[in-house]
Assembly symmetry: C3
């Protein structure tokens, strides 16, 4: 599966510019390298516009934000938009502070995103932010169906593909809604699985700049597979979560084999 996309990845390995979270910056760099892509990390406004101009994709990760990095993101994101380079947003912990909410508001206002990826609570918060008429907390009372509507609304309001990470990932462009099953709850016991998935989406956006829905879907499916393998190896070898993180990045080294093997559980694809 994903033969054509993996072939494109191998023929033209993307350079992925990440303005990202210091907690997981090394994991993101190593995951991209393991997959055969090239990461470039640069976050200061003195250079982000220039750096992104030679990149295939830009990933903006809101973890550990500060005003200067936000300027770096805005500068890079606008330049990427001008050059039609896909931009991916990970609104890490957007609900935890007014500063993160306002940062995301500025990013959504000034930059066009190809994909927005978050966990359920981050996407919830984002739905509230994007819709000016309701607050962040208003979503707490929503039903599953209302949440789905809100996610579709977020995709439509931003023009971005929205990817929600959960037991079953949901990826939507506001028209189609794709479900990706698999993975393991143990992924929440290692840091950086969300950040790495967003970097992976960035990588596939670099490969498929015209098809962010497919890029996000493939990345979500592969990450679930990486996690399954890593959890299995942790169990077999009776190790622990630090080893599981290593197995996960190791597994990414075998992207081609995993894709060939198939067996992904993607619904409405």
């Amino acid at each position: 599966m994903f033969d054509a996309e993996i072939k494109l990845l191998r023929e033209n390995p993307p350079l992925v510019h990440c303005i990202t979270n210091p907690v997981t910056i090394n994991d993101c760099a190593n995951l991209l390298l393991s997959c055969g892509a090239s990461p470039i990390m640069a976050d200061d406004p003195m250079e982000t516009a220039e750096v992104v101009s030679s990149a295939s994709a830009l990933v903006l990760n809101l973890g550990m934000p500060n005003p200067r990095k936000l300027e770096g993101m805005l500068t890079a994101g606008k330049e990427a938009n001008r050059r039609k380079i896909p931009v991916v947003l990970d609104p890490v912990g957007v609900g935890v502070s007014r500063f993160r909410i306002e940062s995301v508001q500025r990013l959504l206002k000034e930059i066009e995103f190809s994909v927005i990826r978050g966990n359920i609570s981050e996407i919830h918060a984002l739905c509230g932010i994007a819709s000016s008429s309701r607050g962040v907390d208003a979503l707490a009372d929503m039903t599953q169906e209302q949440i789905h509507d809100a996610v579709h609304h977020l995709a439509n309001a931003t023009g971005a593909v929205v990817a929600v990470s959960a037991a079953t990932d949901v990826v939507t462009d506001g028209l189609r809604r794709i479900h990706i099953h698999g993975g393991t709850p143990l992924m929440s016991r290692i840091s950086g699985t969300g950040c790495m998935l967003t970097a992976l989406i960035g990588m596939f956006c670099g490969v498929l700049p015209q098809d962010p829905l497919k890029a996000a879907t493939i990345a979500c499916a592969l990450m679930k597979r990486f996690g399954e393998h890593a959890a299995l190896m942790m169990e077999c070898r009776n190790t622990g979560f630090s080893s599981m993180r290593r197995y996960l990045i190791d597994t990414a080294s075998r992207l081609d084999f995993l894709a060939l093997q198939g067996g992904f559980h993607i619904e409405d694809w």
Copy 2:
């Protein structure tokens, strides 16, 4: 051993806000996740007060300080104090610069700490700082007994439990003095063992907010055990120090089993 405390940890996994050292930030996050707690990293004064307000404990680590991060620490620490959220200090390398000394002076003046943890030279430096009448270097000439007195004085002067990491850890609240034996000198060959121990103390302070002496003691005892296991595995598998670090975090995944197993060497407990 520690059954009641591990039970509390499992029933109500703490959210630990770390304003910490970029060198070891990923290790601290992964150690906390391995133990079943949740880390949140945020260091900018734009958001630290808000972030800490939903946390169970706050960890301030002085590694790689800068003025903006110091503001983030002060803002968070004061808010934590207001909300009775325990605050833990790790005065990393406090002796190496005037800026670190002045930073610690401000932190000690404006924030009440539940626990202060450092190695002998850091705690020495801190004793000098806390006592205005003598300089940092004055401690160099002190005897072991005078050092113990100084540590007790530090505990009394700050109202904090003081934990000194060494071949035998010493934990004191200014009244009782607990000794924790074990561990391995090989822990000094991997980066982050001190930072991770401080994060672990933060985690147990989140579990036992009323008993920082017990929180620090349990964390010190467990970290020594993690290190022993990791060193043993490194030896058995004939690997090296990068693997040892991995084994250490892996071992934290088995916190419950280790605690159950017992065999900790805690004196005057």
Copy 3:
């Protein structure tokens, strides 16, 4: 091989002050610790001059630069020069932005370096920067011989030993040109191999402050060996690139044994 130098390393383990790249800061710290040296990371101008004053060597790595860190580098570098402490430069990605080029120009103008290490494209860019009469891009059209001339010119212009990382590393002081064979192209699939090599050069400069040519040569030869071992272990154990990075740092724990074993391919030494 390198018996005398390893003996010096063991007798007087250097303290290496790194102002470095957040992507690989943890790897650099752990590599130095694995080798038996002590890393100290500090990048704020509030403290870098003071910190370097007790160090054996200073490593300046241009990854993820920002104006404040640049000030930290300038302050530390000038103090190191005053105290005759060797300074090593890694011009990470110097070609990617005007800011990195200008940063390197200031560093080269205000600081005397013992060693400058980079990959071919970084050293190319640097040759153009050091020679005011030609731009960065002018080197694109140069022949291999012209490049060698430019590298010699860079060494002569800066007074530094220049180390170029490639399939065969080249180390020159402007007079002698040493070639180091070995290593593996797989090292480009893990992040931080360049940064770690530069840290290793810093460590050996701390051991051999009077002989940066030898320091750089030994570090390059050992790093190629670390990489060969790591790649072999990855293959034997059928793991992946995250494991390879671990094996590389593990291998550094056995520095003495590797050096004893010999078999390095160093030409014109």
